[in-house]
Symmetry: C2
Subunit: 307 residues, 2 copies
């Protein structure tokens, strides 16, 4: 997003605590005269004040990115890093008179829906702490928008994959890659392999957000962002095996419907709203996954390569 | 609620910081051997631990009760007293193995809906910080329920009025009563008087909650609670004038559609879900309002009476 904004001529300040992002992702921008980087946390008011000084619009994409809750995790991680951080962003905007906000919400707000594909009009029932925190953010955004006369764009992302992946994140791709590197004969798969989800390339996600901000002009504009198909976990496993040039890999399933507690087994987003606005994904879920697998493997090779 | 539970034979612990509730409301219970009162705040972990010790079910009805945000208010009042307090309740339940929760949500989660009456399936878009915080609570409850195997009842209240009213609360009844006591010739009315809302007596609200908890057995059970009609602000003004035996009172309107920022001008709850479960309000909105007006005026007379 920073790259796209600088490229089109905007002055950009990035505030990031680098808890999951990495400095090398914005390396080429660091010396650009329209770019400023502040390493800091959204819960640090001083950092936030500095970042928000004289800005026209906030792209609030910071969050704890892991949807998956693992036993032993603090239960207030998403509450702090998503809900409270978003409140801090909104309150600082209010104090400094910043009126425009774009926000990365998530399809995890919906939870398990009986009707697929899921339109923006479906009532959300999150089943993960991550989804719950993003829904809390949406509520805060809606009320700040209304009370303090802001204009907001809320994007409910499908699974976003791309070039700047986290090879150690709690994602199915990183999980498969590392498991197969450890043992190329067997792939333990969380769930029954039939879980199916929508994927979108990060580059397309950025493009869609900028398109929507330019073309949707309601006080509050909420869009599902994704492609119009999905891909199963089994198919992702096949693509990973193929990309790693492995053969006769045995798939072993934990057998549950969802991969983990809080996992929504099957979701397909209704993306007709953003399509009707005039934007459509060029790559489907399988193409996005193929791209992400290639990048994850490159990333792993680079960090584990020997002289 | 405490009275109803003790009456049916339950052991009851009340934890209340008395920020809006009053001790005299539970006075008759204080000496009952099945009743225990702890004065404390939900954000004080020690008080919460003490209250939650060996309990079977939590009725979480504590909140900042004012939907209305007034310039100068802190914007994180609802975030703290509703969202964070509810998180604290849930996390303490998880730690202590308490599995059942009833929660007072609000019709303010819906925001302004085009379709009336509003069913539980409508997507919520709160426009008040209060509504946003309650939606955040609902998300937290849903995810805790799913992740930690709880059973929850979520009640989206209409406006609840009754015997134990707050005569100084930010409610239309208290507002009208105090204005007319100050100046019986003129009643300044926030909005255009056409705002229309559903009211429910607190005694019926308690009855409905207990009925739903007994008869609805899903892992999570969400119900609108209200009667099936509504009443306009103009009609409430007429009833107040009548109850105070005034005549020729001039109504003066601020003229906006909503009474204040964050006010939902017209809402009517679809209560068919609770009706189909087998419960129905015995009093309509006008009857509930008449009752509340009578009690508010008595309350004011008692606190202002002279020897």
């Amino acid at each position: 997003m920073a790259e796209a904004l600088v490229t089109r001529g905007d002055h950009v300040t990035v505030l990031d605590n680098l808890s999951s992002g990495r400095l090398e992702h914005i390396e080429p921008l660091l010396t650009h005269d329209k770019f400023r980087f502040i390493q800091g946390d959204l819960l640090d008011q001083k950092a936030l004040d500095a970042a928000m000084d004289s800005v026209e619009m906030v792209y609030h994409l910071a969050a704890n990115p892991d949807v998956k809750f693992t036993a032993g995790d603090a239960t207030d991680k998403d509450l702090k890093q998503n809900t409270l951080a978003t409140y801090a962003v909104l309150e600082t905007m209010r104090q400094q008179g910043v009126k425009k906000l774009a926000f990365s919400s998530t399809s995890a707000v919906y939870g398990v829906c009986e009707t697929l594909p899921i339109s923006e009009q479906q009532a959300p029932h999150p089943i993960s702490l991550y989804g719950a925190s993003k829904l809390a953010c949406e509520g805060l955004i809606g009320s700040f928008q209304h009370l303090f006369d802001m204009q907001c764009w809320v994007f409910r992302f499908a699974n976003i994959v791309g070039k700047k992946v986290r090879s150690r994140g709690r994602t199915v791709i990183a999980d498969f890659a590392h498991k197969l590197l450890d043992d190329p004969s067997t792939l333990p798969i969380l769930g029954n392999g039939k879980q199916a989800k929508s994927y979108l390339l990060s580059s397309e996600c950025v493009e869609a957000m900028l398109f929507a901000i330019e073309h949707a002009k309601q006080p509050i504009n909420t869009f599902n962002l994704g492609c119009s198909d999905w891909i199963t976990v089994d198919r992702i496993a096949e693509l990973m095996v193929e990309a790693m040039n492995l053969e006769n890999v045995k798939f072993e399933y934990t057998g549950t419907e969802g991969g983990w507690a809080g996992d929504v087994p099957r979701f397909l987003l209704d993306v007709s709203a953003i399509n009707q606005l005039g934007w459509q994904a060029k790559h489907n879920s399988e193409q996005a996954i193929r791209f992400a697998i290639k990048n994850t493997l490159q990333e792993i090779n680079q960090t584990t390569c020997k002289p």
